[in-house]
């Protein structure tokens, strides 16, 4: 199966992103100084934010890795899953930013930069995933014929 260059580049970027998410997740999960907790309304259970963020990052890392494999294979749903991964990553980082997570870390500490770094990766990946050639390869704007699992 002939793969366009952009698809290979994106697959590699997704692997790198998986490594980043995995590292961030591991790093944040271990960070004892992050004591910020989230309380589930009504039920009243508390979760440490670092555990939640760490778990989400780990999950995203796994999904990103799998998606890069399906990108290589040019599976029809790879594009939307890749976009979904970026969306979740951006959403979590924006929630942390807006939810004053910055108040729980020292000014411009490594944890603050992690949030911005994840945002930057997400923005870059979204721009690249919306590249016209990628959209064309995965026929984002048109439906694939029924039963066709692969873009080419």
């Amino acid at each position: 199966m002939r793969r366009p260059g952009v698809v290979i580049v994106l697959a590699v970027l997704l692997i790198i992103e998986a490594i980043i998410f995995g590292s961030v997740g591991f790093f944040v999960y271990q960070a004892a100084e992050l004591v910020w907790a989230w309380r589930v309304p009504v039920i009243g259970v508390e979760f440490l934010a670092r555990h939640v963020v760490g778990a989400v990052s780990g999950g995203l890392a796994v999904v990103a890795l799998l998606t890069s494999f399906f990108f290589f294979r040019m599976h029809s749903n790879a594009w939307v899953v890749a976009v979904f991964v970026q969306g979740v990553a951006l959403l979590v980082s924006l929630i942390l930013y807006v939810g004053n997570a910055m108040n729980y870390v020292s000014e411009r500490s490594i944890y603050g930069y992690l949030i911005y770094f994840v945002m930057l990766c997400g923005v870059f990946m979204v721009i690249y995933l919306n590249h016209s050639e990628v959209r064309l390869v995965f026929r984002v704007d048109k439906e694939l014929p029924r039963g066709r699992r692969y873009a080419r």
């Binding site: 309304p41 939307v80 979904f84 969306g87 924006l94 923005v123 979204v126 919306n130 984002v140």
Partner: protein, 618 residues
Amino acid sequence: MNAVEDRALLQRFEPIIRYTRGERFFPMDVEPYVDACSLWLQRPHEEAVCLIPESDLTLEDLTQPPKPHDFDAITFLKFIEPLNIAELAAYEVKRVREGLTRSDSERMFRAGLGRLARVGYVSRFVDAIFSISLLARGRVPGDTAAAAAIAYERILARDGDYRYYGRVLRQEGWIVLQYWFFYAFNNWRSGFYGVNDHEADWEQICIYLYETEEDEVQPEWVAYASHDFSGDDLRRRWDDPEVEKVGEHPVIYASAGSHASYYAPGEYLTQIEISFLSPLVRITEHLKQVWRRSLRQVSEESIPPEQESNFNIFRVPFVDYARGDGRSIGPGQEQEWSEPILLNPVPTWAREYRGLWGLYARDPISGENAPAGPLYDRDGTLRRSWYDPLGWAGLDKVPPPAVALVRLQGHRSKIQEQRMDLLSEIAVKHRSLTGLGLELQAMHGKPHLKEAYFAASERVAALSDELAILRAEVGTLDALLEAFDTQATRLEAGKRAPLRFHISHAHHPATAAELRMRRAAELWAALSIGLMMVAFVALALFSREHLVGGLVVLLSLFIFVEAGFRGRLIRLISSVTTALAVVAALVLLFEFFWEMVVVIVLLAGGYLMLENLRELWS
């Protein structure tokens, strides 16, 4: 042309109308309708007054209608009174019996995918506001449709006629055939889940003909009226495959209740704009343009321009059911037209009576108020489709094919003259400019002529700019003349413009794909708004400190489920992610503005060095 020729021409091209099953009202003669009406006068802040009761009113009385002498007074006809409970019960029993026995299958209407299932949450909220507003504004009483159906059936049984009103006029080389259809009642709301009910309904289509060199009459365009729309989108060329024809008779698919005319059978999602929401409509249209064009969320190559959706979330959505599976009227159909009634010369009753042809419901949005006659709008002013049928369908800029080449050549001559005038002007200015140039050369270096030198330099610069503009105009005219020549060659060879080039938003029926997941989607559409309100109240009661966050989560969940039902999950994920990326980019810009400036400058500097070195080494 005389009346006989007019009538013959109208009948030669008279349309075939296919109705939807369940339609109860069909085109009729106005005379028996008026005979069954009373004439009323409504002054502001007063009760309506009956001027001529039902038993006394005739069409003749409309030739000399009373003049209200008051700007805000409205005269209107009143067709029927609503049924009492016993009559309504008898009517409903009869309908149910008909439905059970299926003795008259054309009366059975089954709604398709509910209109609310076809649109999103904002549209449903807007619809909820519109529905609630019906309680506050004037509306046709609930049983009026049933009473009108009974009265109309009585008239039809007595007269048995299906009639249209025809008008033939010549305008700018075109022969325009107007077909007007009068219906006793519009029961779109009560019968087919539409926008409104109102007594009386006037609909029309136009066929545009031209005379060939052999004095043959040739149809070129048709335009079907649909609600209050006008312009290029209304018309189709006669040879457009979408214009279904039986011989020389165009086929109209009339929507149930509203009687709007469509070219193809199907269910049309149509939108009504409420005046106080118009600013929001404009804003969302503008944002949609930015989203699509600037952020490229929809590939422009994948959707032809005439299929780009005109849907707006702040317009109220309704469905026009124009299925064509009910009664057919026209040449060769189960029911035929009676002799058409000519509207030229204009009958006195049509010219003199400017009031409404049915009940004035005092609806400020006008949806429930009856229309005026074929000549007039509800406010008594002339309808555009009457005084300017060409402009109404956007044909005022299109010459008839027989004269297109001559007009093009005439216009070309005018452009050519313009060009010659410009060239003369350029020649004069050029001589002045060269003269000034020689002056500058002569004055150069002479201190005593310094002031004059600089003044002359300024004049040279100004004149040079003027010449540049004139020459650019000549260049444009040259290109235009070349385009004219190409067009003339095409016209001489009998080639025509693309069929749909004039259309920006064609109205399409819903596709089978859009009608999938019927029951589940309908149930969800019906319940979702109410569920959202209940969930909002529960949040407010039990977890007020998380109201905003909870609402966001709730809305997101609902939107996600909705997108799943409507097969738009991919688009939703893509759009939301893009929106998040935009927000994140703005956050980064805000937090790291100067760092970004530094990085950009460094990158730009590095790039420039690389390019210059590459040039040096090549």
